[in-house]
Symmetry: C2
Subunit: 138 residues, 2 copies
């Protein structure tokens, strides 16, 4: 992501040009298949690797491991190793991760409350498309 000068500038703008960079960076980091789901599961409390895997769903070991590593890198989760046999590794949200959970939860709550509206919109859309095809020119 090379820093191209002037990609977002506009005369007489609202002035959050530099802040757009922060937003884009965050979105780039959470816009993958699993991050938000993992964060949300960890929001219920600390969890070990395989337990986490079961909670999240159909995630592969590879993706869970890499997702957790990036979350740890970003300071969202902590990784605590207990050197016993068999080894125990517990993941938990940090303070930063807990803070981040709030906006994530607001999206999750929105999804739950509005999924029916989205379904209705999709149905209306496909219906409208069908009508438009039925009237190619008038």
């Amino acid at each position: 992501m090379a820093k191209q000068e002037g990609t977002l500038r506009k005369p007489g703008n609202h002035g959050d040009t530099s802040q757009c960079e922060h937003i884009s960076r965050l979105i780039a980091r959470i816009s993958d298949k699993w991050t938000l789901l993992v964060v949300r599961v960890l929001g219920r409390g600390p969890c070990r690797f395989n337990a986490l895997r079961r909670e999240v769903g159909e995630i592969s070991q590879k993706m869970l491991a890499s997702t957790l590593r990036e979350l740890e890198e970003n300071g969202f989760v902590s990784r605590t190793v207990t050197p016993v046999t068999p080894p125990q590794v517990e993941y938990a949200l940090t303070q930063l991760g807990t803070d981040f959970l709030k906006p994530v939860q607001s999206i999750a709550d929105w999804a739950i409350r509005n999924s029916s509206r989205m379904d209705a919109a999709r149905a209306a859309y496909s219906k409208r498309r069908a009508n438009e095809r039925a009237i190619p020119s008038r």
Copy 2:
């Protein structure tokens, strides 16, 4: 209905399996490189195609078009064509899209407020990794 409880359950049994489906579906739809950015730009007001393109940044026509089509499909944006020459197409958030803007903005605001904390966490992480590599086994 009043404040719906239970979106966030206790560890042990969560029981919101069906709601997870809704959340996963929404995340799958917005977890791409551009959707949230486009939604956010449209949150400032209606916008035409090329103007939108300039506002968002270095997005290609193809991705902007497909992103807008999916947003329209999900009922987040409306597409209004004015048949003149040259043709005008204006995109705007629907009511659903405007509602969705709220959680999106909460994420954007979080990104702005906490980007420095994330940077610090990343710096601390790479430093910790360097120390661990300096002590491979002891």
